[in-house]
Symmetry: C2
Subunit: 433 residues, 2 copies
């Protein structure tokens, strides 16, 4: 008997982060960082499980968890070896279900649930192969990598052959870059100082701590009040000096004309990029803002629903920084499409992270990008936030402002068993106590 996937178990896990205003920004005043968490089990008898999750910020995490359960019948019973051998087919099996597709298509709760499942099965595959996910991906051939990607709706910007060319072009230096990555890690920036709910003293103190920890880029949340933003940006710039990069993040608060005005008012403090100036759906507005505020860079991605919107943001020259998120789109496969699109357009990928476990996941994608896709670290940093890492079995390791390359097998996505119990919502002791 060849082994099968036997169960998909979904958990609603929430952390009461709103009590400290951690994670507060202009659009999200009081998030409770949460995970719709999934465990995929097999009857292979090897002790390996696949763990994955979608990240949410509280209310609705029950619905996100239910979405994973809705998809479970498409996964339970699948033959294990065939599934792991053709992860492109597995992705299409979930994304192209003709009835479920109506609920998106390819966006929102269902798409994020597919992302959780796809990521969980990648975690399982990497554990079984005894490799961290970034290394597993970086060891694939260009042909194997493009087989993971669904090129539907992409071919006006990127064909399979073009993707193959990009990957073959990067094949030469893989070993050297892998060595560099293991020795030096991947550069990071920190958002920890800049949450909107923090007062000026806390902002100043956390900026100093960030510098002391070795970061040479930080980020501030903006967009609620212009005078506040100017004052906070001035404080941060005074402490950081002229050489440390400071990004700002408006979390979708502005319409086009307000964005342009606000960004110009912050320009004297030299923001290295402006993130999410407006709706993540608004390709044309991003392009218009980018033209108006150049050379200040526009960045987005954490709420970009799928590869079709990523493609257009790049085609329209609407962004100069792509911020992929590990759990917004349909998992590893779709983010490989996003990395290839960014490489095609020469736009650096600086992943969104923070939340619950987003740092743990997305580091693998950025490292794979460096070793096997873009082949570059120029202008590239992974976001870092120092929240909730203690709940993971294989948490990220920061080393003087850089992510150290994971060495444990898997996707670094496995949460501690006691965390699943303690933070279960609504019945866990963190919520009833």
């Amino acid at each position: 008997m060849s082994p099968s996937i036997v169960s998909v178990e979904a958990h609603d896990v929430r952390f009461p982060t709103s009590r400290m205003l951690d994670g507060s920004d202009a659009m999200n005043p009081d998030p409770d960082y949460s995970a719709a968490y999934v465990i995929v089990r097999t009857d292979a008898g090897d002790g390996h499980e696949g763990h994955g999750f979608a990240f949410t910020i509280g209310r609705g995490n029950d619905l996100q968890t239910a979405a994973i359960a809705t998809l479970a019948p498409l996964v339970e019973g699948l033959p294990l070896d065939d599934t792991l051998a053709d992860m492109g087919a597995f992705w299409r099996h979930l994304v192209h279900d003709s009835q479920l597709r109506w609920l998106g298509p390819e966006k929102g709760v269902v798409h994020m649930a597919i992302g959780a499942l796809v990521n969980a099965v990648w975690d399982l595959k990497a554990k079984r192969e005894g490799k961290p996910l970034w290394k597993l991906l970086a060891d694939l051939t260009p042909e194997q990598i493009v087989d993971l990607v669904d090129f539907r709706y992409l071919t006006d910007a990127l064909t399979r052959d073009e993707a193959l060319s990009i990957l073959r072009g990067a094949a030469a230096g893989r070993a050297e870059r892998e060595e560099h990555l293991r020795a030096n890690g991947y550069p990071a920036y920190t958002t920890t100082p800049g949450w909107l709910g923090y007062d000026d003293d806390k902002l100043a103190r956390l900026c100093k701590e960030a510098l002391a920890a070795g970061f040479d880029q930080i980020k501030l949340k903006v967009g609620a009040d212009l005078d506040d933003d100017i004052r906070r940006m001035r404080i941060a710039r005074e402490i950081c000096g002229p050489d440390v990069l400071i990004g700002v993040d408006a979390n979708q608060r502005w319409d086009t004309d307000v964005a342009v005005e606000w960004i110009r008012a912050l320009a004297p403090y030299d923001p290295c990029w402006v993130e999410e100036p407006t709706s993540p759906d608004d390709i044309l507005a991003h392009a218009e803002i980018a033209r108006a505020v150049a050379p200040i860079k526009i960045a987005t991605g954490e709420h970009v629903q799928n590869r079709v919107v990523v493609k257009q943001l790049l085609q329209a020259r609407a962004i100069e920084v792509l911020q992929i998120d590990a759990t917004r789109v349909a998992g590893v496969n779709e983010n490989i499409a996003n990395l290839l699109l960014a490489a095609k357009f020469g736009v650096p990928v600086c992943p969104h992270a923070g939340g619950v476990g987003l740092c743990e996941l997305v580091q693998h994608l950025a490292m794979f990008d460096y070793v096997a896709v873009s082949g570059s670290l120029d202008g590239r940093v992974i976001e870092y936030v120092d929240h909730l890492h203690e709940h993971f079995l294989d948490p990220v390791v920061m080393d003087h402002g850089r992510y150290r390359a994971p060495t444990e097998p898997g996707f670094s996505s496995t949460v501690r068993q006691d965390t699943l119990t303690t933070y279960a919502y609504p019945g866990g002791p963190a919520w009833t106590g």
Copy 2:
């Protein structure tokens, strides 16, 4: 004591339409037309309930129903009079919940659930005022209408003042157009002949029946096989003659270059528009296809997630026909934004309908558009499909290829009680029998 909304009750209702291949197209081979149905009850003691729903095509309707239940706590307990008096505030209360917003934002399952609730409360309001919804809306002042719209992310294309100008410009002829509407109805086209699962004989027979019923526009599903499409288009054109309009609908099957090639191959049969040539998220691809196949018109809308994407399709001149859907976006309010955007850009609105109850709902929006927004019937038709109307208490009435204006109070959204029981999924006798 002033009355309140006391309960939000959600039902998973499904019709086994896949057994007859009704509704089959190139992307959706076997839909089971379904409704995530909601009943909003109050303690006003006037006997009125608000009924609304999101339309889906089967699997996942449980999740869509759960999404309505997730939103229920935001609605239950609201003061009734204040809520009905400021439906713009009610809309923002649901759409801008900061935690739930993460699950979209403003797209997919959560947004459709908001649409069901918003539409249900509009139904309640119209029943209480004793008017069909189209008439209730058409009796509002321009100021009251713009207060229903959230202009966030729209102002680069349409400001509140511009919307007011459009509505004031249409105010003069309202009474005359209302009279015309009551006397003559609203023009329709029928999709009944053209489902992809029907054989040539059935296609030919249904084309003849459509002409006999007074329709002067029909629609064919295309996109699975080009030779089949050419043959079916030729059959339809031969039966219809040169003067009847024939639209085609590819249901998102193509990439840009395939779309252009396929549309050119169908051009000799004079399609009046090509609907959903590619991903509904792909504004730039629609624009490219539209340029390449002009003067053949490109249409889309039924899967367009929100007003931000509608805005861009219009800004990019990507569509010449906007096909709003009553339950895809967040209900009446957002569709008023869409009608105003279309009026601003001079693009006719030809609503998507069919499914379960989509005809019943969207006729009200088109009629409101004619009386109070665009003020025109030129190039405007509402889709009609002859399925499932018997389940509604106030079904659409077709009169020689035109929708008769509803006269009953409400949104025509109330399903018969025995239907809710019979088609309850999975326990109803239609599914267990």
